[in-house]
Assembly symmetry: C2
Homo-oligomer: 281 residues x 2
């Protein structure tokens, strides 16, 4: 995928937990989130893994904000124990205080009452560790967790949206699909794409490569890749052009220009254009 | 694991590839490397995933150097195609030029001759894409790849060592185990650890927690965690103390001091110490 910050909504994923840094756990949460975001049309520009350390967490979040991420999604560190410190890190990065959030507390109370009824926990008492999960950065909105107990968190900080999800995959996925995805579907910039293949004969790839490199810089959101190939004993190069943008017509127009320039370069180099298989033109 | 930069050799892992950012591929290379490094006694302080983009790669490496990483291990982006650009990123971060490395070229030549003999490739010819894999940052040392074709790279940059490994897991693992691990075994700081359990009765965890928080800051490399538990109907708290350091005796001495302070705090709070099961003292 080409790097084009202005066309797509940019996401960064920040995974929190020492268990990810010592090899105990593979970061499947990050790849699951990345897949979801991509299929919604967003672009993940970076994934960062840090330990359960307030300083490390807040640095990672501040760096992502500084890089201009539209959305920062964290995973892990929302639980009741002292080493669950993601919200402390978020609060520090966003310059907010942690305060008891009434809606979060209601969600937690309701969950423990359910779990006590089911016999999963002994009592629904709101102990200090359980209340800790309702300590949210000021201005944050809790996201209901129907699988576990720690609510997710949504917060606007500077020009970024921050979403905090628990590290347990079933909880992360449930909150993302039910609470976050519907918001993203509204907020992610809609992009379209156009692509085409051009087949080149009679020019070695190493000779064509610098001309392709030149074209690559000609338009934002443009992606060009060449693949050496053979057809009926003849070597040729399949050149793939792809562009993303806001309007289909504008994308096609840019590809027309790039194609024209490429054909001109191929002719200058003594080569010719093959008619791609299965294409009309 | 506690954060203690001075006691342990610090590693950062930087994984390169758009396929890791759109959910197509789970980053098992990073967790494999993290597991290896941990079992050698090193500490991975951060994992970063960036796309195939020279600017992104060089920024990530420069940031890791600035944070004082002793070792920076990259994975991916060493292959023959134009979008394999890790070494360009490393060269930029380290302020070096890329230049043809004769030893790397010999390794690549040998591998293609083997692959041509085996019929895996048509010819052993050193085409420009193949020669590209021998373009290393000046001063770098190639690390032989017996599985694929792109050599790994070892480079000293500022106060960090940079190791670049291919993204194909079998190649990454082979080069790491045969070429990198033997070096790390010599260079990683040797650390030892000491730990013990203390069982506390008659103090609620929420009351003990602030006293434990105080103790936590008392010694570098100290890790304390409390676990509420029950034995024969009686609630108690299992407190785990662990410390890492250079000498076993010094570690034990610090734990003696911490234990003494903890016992004093428990008594002040009206609690008592239970004899842990299966322990002598």
């Amino acid at each position: 995928m080409p790097r084009e910050p202005k066309l797509q909504t940019i996401f960064e994923i920040i995974s929190v937990g020492y268990e990810l840094l010592d090899g105990r756990v593979v970061n499947t949460n990050a790849s699951w989130l990345a897949g979801q975001i991509s299929s919604l049309g967003g672009r993940v520009s970076r994934i960062t893994v840090v330990g359960d350390d307030v300083g490390e967490i807040s640095s990672a979040i501040r760096e992502a904000m500084r890089r201009g991420a539209d959305w920062i999604i964290t995973s892990g560190g929302l639980g009741p124990t002292y080493d669950d410190m993601t919200l402390q890190g978020v609060a520090k990065a966003a310059g907010r205080r942690l305060a008891l959030n009434r809606r979060a507390l209601e969600m937690i109370k309701k969950r423990y009452e359910e779990l006590a009824r089911e016999g999963v926990v002994e009592s629904a008492e709101l102990t200090p560790p359980r209340m800790k999960m309702a300590m949210l950065p000021r201005g944050a909105k809790p996201l209901e967790n129907e699988v576990g107990t720690a609510p997710g968190v949504l917060l606007r900080a500077g020009r970024s949206w921050i979403v905090c999800l628990p590290g347990v995959p079933s909880e992360l996925q449930d909150i993302f699909l039910k609470r976050v995805k519907p918001i993203l579907e509204k907020k992610i910039k809609k992009i379209v794409s156009a692509d085409r293949w051009i087949h080149v004969k009679g020019v070695p790839e190493s000779v064509l490569a610098p001309r392709i490199d030149e074209l690559r810089t000609r338009a934002p959101g443009l992606y060009i890749k060449s693949h050496p190939d053979k057809r009926e004993g003849t070597s040729f190069i399949r050149v793939y052009l792809r562009i993303i943008g806001r309007r289909k017509q504008a994308c096609e127009r840019v590809l027309d220009e790039i194609e024209e320039k490429l054909i001109k370069a191929v002719k200058e180099l003594g080569g010719e254009i093959l008619k791609p298989e299965g294409e009309a033109g």
